[in-house]
Each structure stands twice: as C-alpha cells, then as structure tokens.
C-alpha cells in the first residue's frame, strides 16, 4: 500500500464547504464587537428624543452628572463638532450619524445626548434619568400614495424613465389593470445589535465595530472628524447580520466623541428599541401599477410608480419602480421613484432595496394580468421576455429567467395546477399556489487584495471584505484556493480591517463578486511569480491587486441575477391564518462558490419573503410620531413554525465573457418571494391582497367582503 505524498489539486469552488470560522462561532470563541474587553473601558448610552419635531430647549445634566459612575454627558451644547459637508463612498452622509451638532429634533428617537459611565447599567440608569425639555412643533408622519407633496428623486438611478404614449397604448389595450400595492415599514432586525468601541492608541483612532465595510466606515469617520484616513483604523471581524443597516451610525460617532473627550476607551451599544429609530429601515411604499396588454398578454403599456417616505433632512429613495426597468418591456413604458418628506428617521438600504417591495407590486400585477387574460402566469412572463434592457436598450449579460421557470415548474409540479381560485381544501384550510419572477443587479465595486506565498508553503490572503454572516470568509478561501491551485486548508483569509486597504462593502450583492475579482487577480500574478522558481524568502512573496481599472473596462450590459419563486399556501378564512406550506426558488446567479452557504443565503432570502408577505410591519403611533411595539415581540419576523419546506436551487448560469463569473446571492432570494405568497393566497381564496402584510384581520375582512384595513 502506498500513501500519496503529493497534494493533488481539486476545484474547491462549487463544492460545499462548512464555514472556516464555524467552530469558533458555535463554541463562542468568535468575539463580536460588544464582547471584546478593554482596560478602562467606559460605556456610553444614547438618549433619544421623545418628541417627533421641535427643538431642545434645555437638558438637566447636573443631577445626572452626580449619579453613580457617570463620567460625562455629551449633547449639542458641548459635543465636538464634526464635518458633514462631504460626499462619502456611497452618497452624501445621512446627518443622523452626525450626532449632537444642533438643537433641532427632526423625528422621535433622534439622539439628543450620550451619557457615559463606568458600567453600562450606570450609563443606562443615568441616561433614562436625564430630563430633556423641548419646544415641541406639530409633526406629520401620515404616509399615503396620494400625498400632493411627493416628488421624483434620482437615487442610484434616474427618478423617472418614460417612452411611448401611455394613454394611447392603454386605450388600445384589450386588457388593462390599474391597482395600488402597499408595503409597510420594515426593519432589518439582524441578531447582533450595533456596537462600537472607540479608543485612541498612540495617536491613532481605533474602532472595534460591527459593520458592512471597515474601509467605508473608516473613510467616513476620517472625514467627519477631519483626520488623516491613515490615522483611523476600523476593525469588524465577526458581524451578526447587517442587511444594509450597518454603515456609519450614531453609535460609532458618539463613541469616537466620548473617547476623544474622556481620553479612554468608550463603547456604545444600541438596544433593540434604539435600533428601530437609529439604524435605518425599509420605507413603506405605495405603488401604482398600470398595465395594458393585447388579448394574448403581450404588454402594450406598463407604468410603475413607487412612493416612499424619507426624513425632512435627507433624501433616501427606495427605488421600487426600478425592477420594471429590467423585467418587462412595453410600447409605452413609464417608471417613477418618488419620495415624500415626513418627520421620521431616514430609511436606508435593506436587503434588496427597491427590488423587494417593487417585485411585490409588479409580480402581483402580472399575476392579475394573467388571470384577466386567461393565460398561465409563467406563459405570460415568457411572452413578455425582453431582448434588451427595456429602458437602457443594452444587451443582457445572460438572462436565464425562463430556465429558472422551466426548472421550477417541473420540480414544483406547476403543470398540474388548476388556475381557478378557491377550489382546493384540506380540512379548514384553503390551498393555493403562486409564482413570481425575481431579478437583482449583479454589480461590483473596486477592491484591492494582497496574496502572500508564505515560506512554509501556505498562503495568506488579505482582502478587506466583510463577513456579515454570509460565509464570505469561506467563499474567499475557496476562490483563493482555486486561483492558487492549492487546497483550502492551505489558505488563510484575513478580512474586516481597514488597514487591509480599500475594498467593496458587503452590500448590493456585490461583495463576493468584487472581492473574488481582486483575490483572483493577485493570485494569478503570484502564481506567475512562483513559476519563476526563485524560492520564497522568509517574509514570503506578496502580490497586490486593484480592480479599479478592470471594472472600468467592463462592457456596458444589463447584468443581473434572475429567479423564479413558487409558493404553496394554506389559508383559514374563518380565522385569517395563512401558512406557507412549501416554497421553491430556482435562481440563475452565476457561478456558485460555496453551495452550502449560497443555499443558506437563498433560503434565508425566501424566508424573508414569507416574513414580508405575512408578518413584518413596524407600526407608528400617529399621536406621538414614534413606533408602537418597537421590539422583537411587537415586530414579528417569521418563526421556524412559519416556515414550511423551503428549497432553493440554481440553474447553470455561465457568461464566458465575464471576468469573474460570480454574481451575488445575498438579495435575489427575497425578490418576488412575497409576490409568490400573495399570488398563492389569491389562488387559495379568490381574494387579491395588495397590502402587505397579509394579516389575519385583512384575511377576515376580505372573507367578509369588507374593505381592507
């Protein structure tokens, strides 16, 4: 018997691989931002406004400063000034993070002070004892689709696109639809709250944080505090979820201010309730969809208008109408993303911003059109497949939507479906099935990486990625192993440290694509160097990469992931209960790096869709302007018992012209999922639910023939 002594190379990408840090996480060895001890650590507690609009007239700080352990109370009268007139990596900054700069209160839950004390309990007690007086002004938080003060906004895309004569095409259509769809305020609700520790160390500001990009947070903090970027270091090793909310927020800025004033380390951790007003959220949307089609279902007219709210001091647009610019063409095509300014916190990116609410409206409208035309919903979509971007006119870099529908229909058993609603029953439950299409952009951001061949034959990859629970660390290990033609256990990946250099954030489903690009480029060059056989010095051989130029050279195309969602629901119309018995999602999402964690991402997205369809809704109290029940008892996310059999899989989606071949899977899973559930509820009951979530009271009202509340 012989033993193989030479390692043979087998491809790691595409083979399921458990998380490289999985053992650390399940044993508690992995430390999160709020876990790491520091000598002399002080604790800051944010004090939030209890009025929705007005000015701070005074703060009674003296009694609080006399309380046990209290070290300082920072507020607009004494806090360090920060710079806000800059443009950050992604946009102009949301002034919510620039705390304590003025006396204006623009929403309930606005940070008005930070109480710093020796223990977190002392800080909390003192913060809650701080009396703040306000000059209160009347507030307006009433959001509705008919706000006369709504206006279109360009976000990352134009506010309005239009071509053709909408009125004429609608008039010429055999079948038309004109409906409003609404989605509520939703919150990221990741497990790990926002937590940051700031300290000055040898003239350098260090921040231990939980964020979606240390380079991003570093550059914003440097600009806000007018520091050289090199004198700010931000680390974020493990992150218990972000979903778009973990960028620059009040807690980091407040911690830096306090650490600067007190010259000792200061930690600020948010409570769940504080997160509801300080960390962004998905705005409610009111969307109007108008469709006109020939009798065979071919679209002549498509209008998708989406309205969201934003704060009075910062424009955030939830670009829900953007999905129509990718999915369906029509002779007359109009899309508009509009906002209205209210006395509320600024919304932000939340998993599939735009696409998640937008696909609910558009994909429900398509289902309604299919019903009106008497055409199968999948066939309707097939008849409306565009050859080029409906708005951009650009070619698609792969559009495998129909492959997803074909595979999904086969596995779900769609061919046997009777399209008529309200016919199937299992005891007290009415049963129905529904489907919807999904798409999400496949983008990339410039990134740098350094790959080192160590003298001991292993490799170290330094790339400033953020593993926000997605499995990025593992995915990059596999990508690097293949690029280096070595085994994953010979590769160490270091990430989550701004000293590693600029790189993409974990956001927009761009992370894995962007970081892999940089890692692959550096690894390829390193292999060329190693092929010279000059030997490896003790410090190793390091090659660096920067993808900025390669990204710029990429041909202009419509680049997206696609998917087909299927759902089976059971509805008891006598109690209003809706249960999702099974879901199937088939996706075309490029090369799948790690099937284990990719499937988890996609299934997680689909479960978000169930949650969005049936449960999630942040409620605002009109009188106070603040939230009602702002915690995880009041804000319902799907529990295990709400999740039936959920399967995600993918079709071959190879683009030979793409330099990376990887698309993101972080967001596509939620797109269309709520629409598939809502369409299934119609199929079960014969009632269209155009307002999310599909709550028991809404189902009961519909069964009684009453109006939706």
């Amino acid at each position: 018997m012989t033993t193989a002594t030479r390692r043979t190379f087998t491809e790691a990408v595409g083979t399921p691989h458990p998380r490289v840090e999985g053992r650390d996480k399940v044993t508690g060895a992995a430390r999160y931002a709020g876990d790491i001890p520091f000598a002399g650590l002080a604790h800051g507690w944010l004090v939030l406004s209890t009025v929705a609009r007005g000015r701070i007239s005074s703060l009674e700080t003296a009694p609080v400063l006399a309380m046990p352990g209290v070290l300082a109370v920072l507020h607009h009268g004494n806090a360090p000034r920060v710079e806000t007139g800059y443009t950050g990596m992604l946009s102009v900054p949301d002034p919510t993070a620039a705390v304590f700069q003025h006396d204006r209160v623009p929403h309930l839950g606005w940070p008005v002070a930070l109480v710093v004390a020796t223990t977190p309990e002392q800080a909390r007690e003192a913060a809650e004892a701080l009396v703040v007086h306000y000059d209160v002004e009347p507030h307006d938080i009433a959001f509705s689709g008919d706000r006369p003060d709504a206006y279109p906004v360009d976000g990352h895309m134009p506010g309005v696109t239009e071509k053709g004569d909408l009125a004429a095409q609608l008039a010429a259509s055999a079948v038309t639809l004109d409906e409003e769809y609404t989605t509520p305020e939703m919150h990221h609700s990741m497990m790990e709250p926002h937590a940051a520790t700031a300290r000055w160390d040898g003239g350098r500001l260090e921040l231990i944080d939980s964020n979606q990009g240390t380079h991003w947070v570093q550059s914003e903090l440097a600009q806000m505090f007018s520091l050289d970027p090199g004198s700010v270091r931000v680390r974020s090793e493990h992150v218990g979820g972000g979903f778009g909310s973990k960028g620059v927020r009040a807690h980091q800025v407040a911690a830096v201010m306090a650490a600067t004033v007190l010259q000792r380390p200061v930690r600020v951790v948010m409570t769940r309730r504080q997160m509801f007003s300080l960390t962004g959220y998905r705005s409610p949307t009111a969307q109007r969809v108008r469709l006109g089609a020939d009798a065979d279902g071919r679209l002549r007219a498509l209008e998708h208008r989406s309205l969201n709210l934003t704060s009075t001091f910062h424009e955030y647009v939830e670009p829900s109408a953007g999905v129509a610019r990718v999915m369906y063409d029509a002779d007359a095509h109009r899309t508009a993303n509009e906002v209205v300014r209210l006395d509320v916190p600024t919304p932000t990116w939340m998993r599939a911003p735009g696409e998640a609410p937008g696909s609910f409206a558009l994909e429900c409208a398509l289902d309604e059109l299919a019903e009106k035309c008497g055409i199968d919903p999948i066939e309707l979509r097939a008849r409306n497949e565009p050859e080029r971007g409906p708005v951009s006119g650009l070619p698609f870099a792969g559009r495998n939507l129909l492959a997803c529908f074909r595979e999904g229909a086969r596995r779900f058993g769609w061919a046997d479906r009777d399209p008529r609603p309200g016919l199937r029953r299992d005891g007290r439950w009415l049963l129905g099935t529904g489907t919807a299409a999904a798409s999400f952009p496949s983008g990339a951001l410039p990134s740098t990486a350094a790959v080192t061949a160590e003298a001991d034959g292993t490799f170290t990859v330094r790339v400033n990625a953020a593993d926000i629970g997605t499995g990025a660390r593992t995915a990059l290990t596999l990508v690097a192993a293949d690029a280096l033609e070595t085994a994953p256990d010979r590769v160490r990946v270091r990430l989550g440290d701004s000293d590693l250099g600029p790189a993409s954030i974990a956001g927009g489903s761009m992370g894995t694509r962007s970081w892999s690009w940089a890692v692959t480029a550096a690894a390829a060059e390193l292999r060329e160097r190693l092929a010279l056989n000059t030997g490896i010095p003790p410090e190793g051989i390091t090659v660096r990469s920067d993808t900025t130029e390669a990204l710029g050279a990429l041909a202009q195309k419509e680049r997206h992931s696609f998917g087909a969602q299927f759902a089976e629901v059971a509805v008891d119309v006598t109690t209003g209960e809706v249960r999702v018995r099974r879901m199937l999602g088939i996706f075309a999402a490029g090369r799948i790096v790690n099937p284990l964690t990719a499937r988890s991402q996609l299934v997680g997205g689909m479960i978000w869709g169930i949650s969005m369809a049936l449960h999630e809704e942040a409620v605002r109290d009109r009188a106070s302007g603040g939230h009602y029940g702002a915690d995880l008892a009041g804000y319902h996310v799907a529990t295990h018992a709400d999740v039936g059999r959920v399967e995600a899989d993918w079709v071959e989606d190879h683009d030979p012209e793409d330099p990376v071949g990887i698309k993101g899977v972080g967001e596509i899973g939620v797109v269309g999922a709520a629409a598939a559930v809502a369409n299934a509820v119609w199929h079960a009951t014969g009632v269209r639910h155009r307002a999310l979530p599909i709550r028991p009271d809404r189902v009961l009202a519909a069964a009684a023939g009453g109006r939706h509340v």
Binding site: R124, H615, V619, D621, G629, A630, R695, P696, L700
Partner: protein, 330 residues
C-alpha cells in the same frame, strides 16, 4: 437600569415577611416578564425576592378529584404533567401555545397569572398609560389598538391580558391560593382580576404583599374533553389575537355540560357565561354554537380597528365547539 437587591427565600413565611418589611420588593418567579419590564423601566423594584426555591413546585391530586398546582411549577412541567393532560387537556394545550420552549422552562404558574399586558403603550415609558402611570391617559383608544380589548374595557384602558394559561384556568373555575402575613387566603379566578373601570392600574384582588402559593382546579369531568385554540399573527411565539378554551359534554345530541372562556379579548381571561347559558341543554349543533357566540359577543364594544376580533371570536367559538361535538359522536 436601577440597581436592585436580590435574595432567595426558602420558606413561604420568610418570603411574605421580606415583602412586608420592604414595600419596594417584588417576588421573582421565572423572570420572563418582570425582568423585561425592569430593563425597559416599567418596573423598578428595589429588591427581588426569588421564590423559585420555595416548596411550591408540585402538582398533586386533591381528595375530591381535582388538582392542586404549586405556584412555582414551571409552564413546561405543568404542560407535561400526565394528570393535567388527562383531566384538563385544554390547560396543557394553552400552556404549550404560549411563548417558547426556553421561556416555558423558566416561567412559573404564579408569575403567569400576574404577567402584565403587552400593550405597546404600557411597555413604553415615554408614552402615556393609565395602567403604568394612573391619570396619564390611554393613547390606545385613539391610537394603535388592533390587538386590544372588545369586552369589559373602559375609556381608561383597553389593554388585554396576555396569558394563554389563564384562559384555560378561567374555563375550569380555578381558585388561586395565596399567603399573607395574616395567613392564607383564596380567590376564585373569576374574582382574581378586577374590572378595569377607572382603576386599570389595580389589576388583581390580591392583598398587598401576598404571595401566590398555587392554583386549585376543582374536579370537572367535562374538562377531560377540552380544547384550546389560539390565533396569532404568526404560527408560534406570539401573543394571541384571539383564543378559546372550551370543554363540551354532549349526551344524545344535547349539550349536557360546557365550559367556555375567551382570550385576548379583555383585561382578563374572559369566562363566556352568557354563551354557556345558551349552550346548556340545547342541541349540540352549529346553530346553537353560533347563537351562543353571538350571545356572548353582543356585549362586545370594538374600537375602530379591532372589529375583526368579533368575527374572529365568533368563528373560533363555533369551530372549537364543532370540533369537540364531532369528537364526542365518534
């Protein structure tokens, strides 16, 4: 949060004595509600008196065929007890319909009876609430109230009692026993919770400083065929928006005996006596069940956005009674 003292007690008399000496002290059972409320500042006790080591953790049959449940029995142990499951299955079902496995392992019977409403105004100290801050007002009447009371409420408070367990106990005529410095006492569950009126902050008839020692269930043969159904806004880990505990004894197609209580409709578990009167002696059919539900719900005074509860409760009562009647004929 406020600093507080903590002590364990090992006998009932000692526990009662501590509260007698320190009016800021509160008994701590599983802490699944009290500790949350301390974190949010709704409760600010100066001292916690941990009663979990008191010898009140037994479930024993009584000589007359009922059950005596100790106050520190955990929800998990209560739901798993074979005599509870055999004699009062709706009670076991109600307990299992509440909270999560982890919480049920901690929560106690005594604490469950005394848990506070989950009204979002009550749990937010920055808002007005007559229950938390008497005289400050009730924003729920004009504000968010889609899971608030339709029965027995007042303009001063429309909050609902959150307990599932309590609904089954109400149906089965449970009696709460307690101990004070002056000796033991008892309160039938129907008198245990006070009417809301203009004093929503006064929730129970327990004397000040009293320690709940247990709950006694009188014998009720009808309870052996009983059921608890709970409707909530997700499949698990949520408080009810409507629930029903029912027991039904049908003989020759006629209702011989019945127990009916409703949850999430009032400031207390709601014993449906009007419905029971319609049911008793009437044919066990859908018409009777609907008439019984209507008889109870004529007293309903829904708010603008919780009228669905009237429909929901009517449907639930009919559905649960129908299921029990069908089982009886099998």
């Amino acid at each position: 949060m406020k600093e507080f003292g903590y002590q364990r007690v090992s006998d009932v008399a000692g526990a009662v004595a501590v509260l007698g000496a320190d009016p800021t002290a509160r008994f701590l059972g599983g802490g699944t509600n009290l500790v949350d409320l301390m974190k949010t500042g709704v409760e600010r006790p100066g001292r916690l008196v941990d009663v979990r080591q008191l010898p009140l953790d037994q479930i024993e049959p009584t000589s007359d065929g009922g059950l005596r449940i100790g106050a520190t029995v955990t929800n998990s142990d209560l739901a798993a007890h074979p005599e509870v499951r055999r004699r009062y299955p709706a009670l076991a079902q109600a307990v299992l319909a509440g909270a999560s496995g982890q919480l049920r392992n901690m929560a106690t019977v005594g604490g469950n009876l005394l848990q506070r409403t989950r009204c979002g105004y009550f749990t937010d100290v920055t808002k007005a609430c007559n229950k938390r801050a008497p005289g400050s007002g009730c924003p729920a009447v004009e504000g968010e109230h889609h899971n608030h009371a339709i029965l027995g409420a007042s303009e001063h408070c429309v909050a609902v009692h959150p307990s599932d367990m309590g609904v089954a106990l109400a149906a089965f005529d449970a009696v709460v026993t307690y101990e004070t410095a002056d000796g033991p006492g008892e309160l039938p569950l129907g008198w245990f919770y006070l009417p809301v009126g203009d004093t929503p902050h006064q929730e129970t008839a327990l004397p000040p400083g009293a320690l709940i020692t247990g709950v006694t269930l009188p014998p009720a043969p009808v309870a052996a065929r009983s059921r608890y159904r709970k409707v909530r806004e997700r499949a698990s880990y949520a408080f009810a928006i409507g629930s029903v505990a029912a027991a039904l004894d049908v003989r020759d197609g006629v209702v011989h005996d019945v127990r009916l209580a409703l949850g999430a409709v009032a400031s207390r578990p709601w014993r449906a006596r009007a419905a029971e009167r319609v049911l008793t002696g009437a044919p066990a059919d859908g018409g009777t069940f609907a008439a019984a539900a209507d008889a109870e719900l004529t007293a309903a005074r829904p708010l603008p956005r919780n009228g669905y509860k009237v429909t929901l409760m009517r449907n639930l009562v009919v559905a649960v009674l129908t299921e029990l009647a069908e089982e009886a004929t099998r």
